[in-house]
């Protein structure tokens, strides 16, 4: 295994963008769930 050879980050320039995507998606899900709960309650 080329362990610490920094392999190319897929789709983005930096891993930080991937982290932002995951956290942004979580935020969107929570907002969606909030309105989903409110709408159907």
């Amino acid at each position: 295994m080329d362990d610490m050879q920094e392999d190319k980050v897929p789709f983005f320039k930096k891993w930080a963008y991937w982290y932002a995507l995951v956290m942004g998606f979580l935020l969107l899900l929570i907002i969606f769930f909030y309105f989903f709960t409110k709408y159907f309650s």
Binding site: M1, M4, D7, L21, V22, F36, T37, F40, S41
Partner: protein, 575 residues
């Protein structure tokens, strides 16, 4: 079960075993057996970590939303955050040090006793909880299908041993890939069938409105009551984000059954991508599984619903002193159900329009029947809790399977029983592989005075996998004989130990000035404290949800070791 169901079940299970054996060829050393020679691409890592986390009970979760609504999904809100922290800190370090187990890192960072203590806590917790992972679905299947519990345990925990022993981590990863595909297809078909079997004129959105009116679509809850925030509330957004974060970080970062999955990746990047994808797909997947429970709930508004879903417990009552009372209750309940089903179907034939008086009437019927149903169910539960009966008053895990058996077509029933087996196999196989890796790497090899050849290590690893498999089946059998008390105890076992183990790893990664004596003493003291808190909680002197144990344990170790590091200045420190 019909002949077709048996055929589907048998073919699916044999297919998985054959596929596992086909994929079993590995190099005959520890690298091949436990790390797949670091050859796995990210998508196999993703399916493997998902397959490891999802146990049989995960796919019986529609019962959870049926009874308590969808708020359970909040428990996973901390998962994406944990994935990010893992990718930044844990994954590169584990890969750089080329470790087999997460606990090897602790010896490099602190000392042997900290590594041994942590690995021992893992073996204790994971060994017992894997036994329960076998026992829980076995009890449900043997109860519904009338199978012998011993043989159900053997099939649930034993068949997977064939390919897990032979092929190690590689066979585990490849079978988990196929298992996840079959599981998702099975659950998707079940979801389609529920909606398809709703009365004509009632669609998906109508079913959602019915579930919403009955309070089942409570995806976001805050845990606050008139008296303020309820610390004993199990599922709300705060416990999901905070407690869930600590739970998932400790599970994915310090539990070898998960660490062992992403260490098989061919690079740091592939490990990261697998974990991050898990952060993206896990919550939507859990949401859909719970939504299936809401669809089943709506389905039962138009069909007769059992008063209690665990039929074996009703049989128990029918042979007890409550025999006559149960007979009366059944008559009254059936009459109520008949009125409800008739009214609901009448409203459908009158072309249900949202907001119309007919629609509002339907909502009112749902609410009234729910209130009445709760009274009947509570009565049955009260009888089951009677010391003379000593029954199981929780039928949550039986709801989905009862629906499957009563209302789904032949063939699909066999497939969904196979889904329960495969879900159990995925997590059990990974657990056995990790238990064997810790036993050989952290104990046998580490404490052996003689050099062990690679070939001997490989053979020993196979033996340890087999022995742990037998041990877990024995625990499953014991759990059945002792009953719910042991199952409940083992279910909270993870919460008791995860916090302290996570605290040790957090200090190892983020607090370079804290040394070995400070961390060891802190771990022992805080673990004792957690056990004391648990006893107080059990005796109802305090009231605290179990997930808070992880937060307290992790934070307690960090803070106490920080204080003690000022005393033990000559400790072995990082770097």
């Amino acid at each position: 079960m019909s002949g077709l169901d048996w055929f589907v079940l048998t073919i699916t299970l044999l297919g998985i075993i054959a596929y596992g054996l086909y994929r079993s060829r590995t190099t005959q050393n520890l690298e091949g057996y436990f790390l797949c020679n670091n050859s796995m691409p990210w998508y196999l890592v993703l399916l493997s970590i998902m397959g490891t986390q999802a146990s049989a009970i995960t796919f019986l979760a529609p019962g959870q939303s049926y009874t308590d609504g969808m708020r359970f999904v909040q428990l996973y809100f901390g998962l994406p955050l944990a994935m990010v922290v893992l990718c930044i800190t844990f994954v590169p370090v584990f890969h750089k040090l080329r470790v087999f187990t997460a606990y090897e890192f602790l010896e490099k960072r602190f000392d042997l006793k900290t590594r041994t203590l942590t690995s021992f806590l893992f073996l204790l917790q994971r060994g017992l909880s894997t036994g329960i992972s076998i026992s829980a679905p076995s009890i449900i299947l043997s109860s519904i299908l009338g199978w012998d519990i011993f043989w159900t345990n053997v099939f649930m925990g034993g068949l997977l041993i064939i390919y897990t022993v032979t092929g190690g981590a590689k066979a585990v990863a490849y079978t988990q890939q196929l298992q996840m595909v079959i599981i998702l297809v099975g659950m998707g078909l079940a979801g389609y069938m529920v909606i398809h079997r709703l009365p004509e004129g009632v669609g998906f959105f109508d079913a959602l409105h019915i579930g919403g009116k009955a309070g089942k679509l409570n995806v976001i809850t805050t845990g606050t009551t008139d008296h303020g925030f309820n610390l004993n509330d199990k599922y709300n957004i705060w416990i999901g984000l905070i407690g869930g974060f600590f739970l998932q970080l400790s599970y994915f970062g310090t539990d070898q059954s998960q660490v062992g999955r992403y260490l098989t990746a061919k690079s740091v990047g592939e490990s990261r991508l697998g974990l991050l994808m898990n952060g993206l797909v896990k919550i939507p997947m859990q949401f859909l599984i719970l939504l299936l429970g809401v669809m089943v709930f709506s389905f039962y508004q138009y069909h007769r619903e059992p008063v209690f879903f665990n039929q074996s417990q009703l049989s128990l009552l029918s042979k007890s002193k409550y025999k006559d009372s149960l007979s009366v209750l059944n008559k009254e309940y059936n009459a109520m159900q008949e009125v409800k089903v008739k009214q609901m179907n009448l409203l459908v034939t009158d072309n249900l329009q949202k907001g119309s008086p007919a629609w509002q009437q339907a909502q009112s019927i749902v609410q009234t029947s729910e209130d009445q149903k709760a009274k009947f169910r509570n009565t049955v539960k009260r009888w089951l809790k009677d010391k003379d009966i000593n029954g199981d008053d929780n039928d949550t895990n039986y709801i989905f399977l009862r629906f499957v058996f009563d209302h789904l077509p032949k063939g699909l029933i066999g497939l969904l029983i196979a889904v329960i087996f495969l879900a159990a196999w995925g997590s059990i196989a990974a657990a056995l592989n990790s238990l064997a890796s810790c036993t050989i790497v952290d104990f046998h090899k580490r404490f052996s005075k003689n050099t062990i050849t690679e070939k001997k290590q490989y053979t020993l690893s196979k033996w340890y996998t087999l022995l742990w498999g037998i041990f877990c089946i024995a625990i499953a059998q014991l759990a059945y004989n002792i009953g719910n008390s042991l199952i409940e105890a083992v279910n909270i076992l993870g919460s008791l130990f995860y916090g302290v183990i996570l605290g040790i790893f957090l200090v190892a990664f983020y607090f370079k000035k804290i040394g070995s004596s400070a961390i060891f003493i802190s771990a022992v003291v805080v673990e004792t404290g957690i056990l004391v808190i648990h006893v107080l909680n059990q005796r109802k002197i305090i009231s605290l949800g179990f997930l808070w144990y992880i937060v307290i344990g992790a934070m307690g170790v960090v803070l106490l070791s920080g204080l003690l590091s000022t005393v033990f200045k000559k400790d072995k420190k990082a770097g």
